[in-house]
């Protein structure tokens, strides 16, 4: 082969290396086999090695790619071909970055640049952007891509690459619209040019972008699509999983993130993708720390720190050190030595540009100083934070500093300002799950407010502070508490008991007609475990699963833990009996208590009970008015023996009831028009992602997500299904699940079960319930009476259950409809 022909063949292999790596590899091998390794053929050999390198990189073999590029550089240098050497270095920039040496890659780029054509410099910039991104220098990365785009002309491959890298940089910078435009453009270019894997990369970044924007449903949908299209590119699939995991951590979903990282890390190890691996280990350490696993966090962070240090990524190393220190803080008693290391890390974080992480660790350092009894050092650290202006940590520091100085009022003011900031930011999210996770940034601040309120020992102060937090979590945007007089007026004869958790301490505040009392109930863990045991027993009983015993013992134990202090102390104080008596109860739960079937407690056997997300939402529910002769709809879901009979029964109890076919479109449409809806179906609660909880219809599941589209949900919803009342509250004030979704959209009352329920027993319960409802009893009371009569447990009345329903029947609530106060 003549030298020129060999060069042309090698160039052709180079052209193909990105789009058809297997063919490029065969072609380049052919060139190398047919030319001598000396003399004028060396240029062709240099180009062929570069083509083999790019093909190897495409196929995921980074070490082989590096080897070929080193050969290409040395052949070119020995033949005195500086341009060819620079071209090989251009490709090496990318490979060295991926292998864990972004700093060195940038140095290589600087060496190569003088010998390259303008278009090649543009390509170099595209690769440089990746190295800059790895170093956390996203702004510079985006600028290099800007420069490249002007020069690249029609080169679809590099143009697509520039769009991809810029899109990612912009996503990190929070410029979501621009990022989406870039990624969309990248996908268009790749599709038109037949660059399938670039297309999948662009699509692979969509879940990351969506999660960064807080759109988790889109993120998971895009993830599943990308997962199948990246099949066969294990290293890229792993990188995509890491990207999504990072976004999920930012969205406070560490459990989901951990699943993805556990899948990604072994693949990255196998591919030798050191850069991505170190980042994945850093993320995993963060997740492990956040999910209460400090030992594993310490292991992962140590591996990440070693990897990052070896790669010269000094900007990320302090983040790994921070996790190491925080893990130690969870495992060891605080010490002066640990504190000194923490303060050194505070400075290192700040120097590396992680100002938020630095501030957060400084606050923790101040807390450690306090634990060590060094008030002056704590005050010094807090003082430095307090002058930062805005942000959760600043408010936290200001509040704690004022509290330490004895200025409780000032401390409360700082907490309130911080909660208002958090609330205003979270209000922008329409999806209640995203919102509930977004506000968790403010949790330490809310904790501080509660701690200060608890110190006052005053029930009304504690109630106000827990309500402020619940208002923020619930999406009002403002840390406001309901007016106590107004609340009392609406309560009438009822007693409201709000449970508040502070660390592992559980506290109850009871609002009775004549006082507000605060009682400390002891460790929350004991109550949480008793709740889990009770639910376990109840589930087993309802599943008729062999040896399960009646859950009465656990219920009595819970009653003692939750209400004992409220009732006993009262009876001892002169002239005042048990403040609960036989009054109807309104309960505002916290944490695991959202899963407790309250009517099951012995004292509630004949007592109407309603469960609300906050006192404020209960109060708002009490203001909802019935629509005279509103529509009633009934749905019977598939695969249930008694659902059909139940739907018919609803029609008998409430003449004019409309039967709606159990299909998603029809049911959604009916829910938007109905005043009362009864759904007898299978139900599924999804604890990991509560908005994926669903009821089963003929054409598939109707998820809580689907309900978010309703404009006017029914005033009363009866979910006659298993587990439909179950909720998970990432933060108090936003119980997420089917019932919670209806209530957050404006339903006044939802009756639903917290455990599996038996098909036949449910029909019996619901028959009595609807009979009582039609006779004018409000839902909470009707449910209590029906449960007692049929001895069927598990259903709970959520929201405001005190208003009778106008169901059109003679003698029904139409006449009884009245001001609930």
């Amino acid at each position: 082969m003549a030298p020129d022909d060999a060069i042309a063949a090698a160039e052709h292999a180079m052209d193909l290396s990105g789009s058809d790596p297997a063919r490029a590899r065969a072609l380049a091998r052919g060139v190398l086999d047919s030319v001598p390794s000396t003399g004028p053929h060396r240029e062709a050999a240099a180009v062929a090695h570069r083509a083999l390198a790019v093909a190897a990189r495409e196929l995921g073999d980074l070490p082989l790619a590096e080897e070929h590029l080193h050969r290409a550089v040395s052949v070119a240098v020995s033949a005195n071909l500086p341009h060819r050497a620079a071209q090989a270095r251009l490709s090496l920039v990318h490979v060295r970055t991926e292998l864990g040496h972004p700093e060195q890659a940038l140095a290589l780029a600087a060496d190569a640049e003088p010998h390259l054509t303008p278009v090649e410099v543009a390509k170099l910039d595209v690769h440089r952007a990746v190295a800059l991104g790895r170093l956390g220098r996203h702004r510079e990365a985006a600028e290099h891509c800007d420069r490249a785009v002007d020069l690249l002309g029609e080169d679809a491959r590099f143009l697509a690459g520039a769009m991809l890298n810029r899109g990612l940089a912009r996503a990190f910078l929070g410029e979501f619209e621009a990022a989406e435009t870039d990624l969309t453009r990248c996908a268009e270019l790749a599709r038109a040019a037949g660059l399938d894997h670039v297309l999948t990369l662009a699509e692979g970044n969509l879940p990351f972008l969506a999660a960064r924007r807080g759109d988790l449903l889109t993120a998971f949908t895009a993830y599943r699509r990308a997962e199948s299209s990246l099949f066969g590119y294990p290293e890229r699939l792993a990188t995509m999983r890491c990207d999504l995991a990072e976004a999920l951590i930012a969205a406070h979903l560490p459990g989901e993130a951990r699943v993805l990282l556990d899948l990604a890390v072994p693949e990255l190890i196998a591919a030798g993708a050191e850069v991505a691996l170190s980042e994945a280990r850093l993320l995993r350490a963060r997740v492990e720390l956040r999910t209460g696993d400090p030992r594993r966090a310490r292991e992962s962070a140590a591996l990440a720190a070693a990897g990052l240090a070896a790669q010269g990524r000094t900007t990320l190393t302090p983040l790994a050190v921070e996790i190491l220190l925080r893990a130690r803080l969870m495992l060891e008693p605080p010490s002066g030595e640990l504190l000194a290391e923490m303060l050194a890390c505070v400075d290192a974080l700040a120097a590396a540009g992680h100002s938020n992480a630095s501030a957060a660790l400084r606050f923790t350092s101040a807390e450690v100083s306090l634990q060590l009894g060094d008030l002056a050092a704590a005050d010094d650290q807090l003082g430095r934070l307090a002058c930062r202006g805005r942000g959760v940590v600043t408010r936290q520091a200001t509040a704690l500093r004022r509290a330490l100085a004895g200025d409780r009022r000032g401390a409360f003011a700082a907490v309130r300002s911080g909660l208002a900031e958090v609330g205003a930011a979270a209000k922008a999210f329409e999806n209640p799950m995203v919102r509930a996770h977004a506000v968790r940034e403010g949790e330490p601040l809310a904790e501080l407010g509660l701690a200060l309120a608890l110190e006052t020992g005053r029930g009304r102060t504690l109630l106000a502070w827990t309500e402020r937090w619940r208002a923020v979590v619930g999406g009002t945007g403002q840390p406001v508490a309901p007016d106590l007089d107004e609340l009392r007026a609406a309560l009438g004869d009822r007693v409201l008991v709000e449970f508040v958790r502070h660390g592992d301490e559980l506290v109850a505040v009871a609002v009775t007609p004549d006082r507000v009392v605060l009682r400390r109930l002891g460790p929350f863990t004991a109550v949480a475990e008793a709740t889990v045991r009770l639910r376990y027993g109840l589930r087993r009983t309802h599943l008729l699963d062999g040896r399960a015993s009646e859950p009465a013992g656990e219920a009595a134990e819970l009653e003692r833990l939750l209400f004992g202090p409220l009732r006993e102390r009262r009876s001892r104080s002169a002239g005042r009996g048990d403040p609960l008596g036989d009054r109807p109860l309104v309960i505002v739960p916290t944490g695991t208590l959202h899963t407790l079937p309250w009517p099951l407690l012995p004292m509630n056997a004949d007592r109407p009970v309603t469960v609300a997300a906050s006192a404020a939402t209960w109060l708002a529910g009490s203001r909802t008015r019935a629509v005279p002769n509103g529509r009633i709809v009934a749905v019977a879901g598939p695969e249930l023996r008694y659902a059909e009979a139940e739907a018919r029964m609803v029609g008998v109890c409430h003449p004019g009831t409309e039967r709606v076919v159990a299909r998603r479109a029809e049911v959604t449409e009916a829910l938007d028009r109905a005043e009362i809806a009864h759904l007898a179906t299978h139900g599924v609660f999804s604890p990991r992602s509560p908005l994926l909880s669903s009821i089963h219809l003929d054409d598939g599941p109707l998820m809580a997500y689907d309900l978010l589209r309703l404009r006017t949900p029914p005033r009363l919803v009866v979910l006659s299904a298993c587990d439909a009342g179950m909720a998970h509250a990432p933060a108090d004030g936003a119980p997420l699940g089917l019932a919670g979704t209806f209530l957050s959209l404006g339903s006044q009352c939802v009756v639903a079960s917290l455990v599996p329920v038996r098909d036949e027993e449910t029909l019996a319960l619901m028959t009595v319930f609807h009979g009582l409802l039609a006779a004018g009893h409000p839902p909470a009371q009707a449910l209590t009476m029906a449960s007692a009569k049929t001895r069927t447990a598990g259903f709970v009345c959520f929201g405001y259950g005190g208003q009778p329903m106008a169901t059109g029947r003679e003698g029904s609530a139409t006449q009884l409809d009245q001001d609930p106060t």
Binding site: G255, E256, T291, E299, R540
Partner: protein, 154 residues
Amino acid sequence: MTRHPPTIDDESLIAALRLAAGHDPVPAHVSDAARAVFGLRLPGAATARPVATPAPSGVRSSEETRLLRFAAAELTVELEVTSLDGLVDLAGQVSPCPEAGTLVEIRTLHLTQSRELSPTGQFAVTGLPPGWFSVVCHRPEHAPVATSWTRIRP
């Protein structure tokens, strides 16, 4: 959500052989982990092995079961697993209900929680890290019964 220890695959076997042949040094964390696991051994304990749980019927739920059942000669340990926010809640029951003074230990690789059984033989632990776990039932004057190690994913 859960799976039992897999049989060793070819890659792990080759890796083990390489380690055994002294080609690669044994990484420090492997020895540490081995020592930790050795410390979890229970001499004389009977192993309760997993048995199938029947699918529920006649209820308004089509959910896949989250119940696990382990059986030894004379004891059955049943468990229900719930994952929340990356942590795991476990509830369970030992049957037939053992005598008073029976303790269960819920063991993970790094921490062990101990609970007294309720009068009906029930117990619960909340907020466990996901990963490998085993439940050990200590009855007075009996050899302990331990469920085979099982993995919970977050």
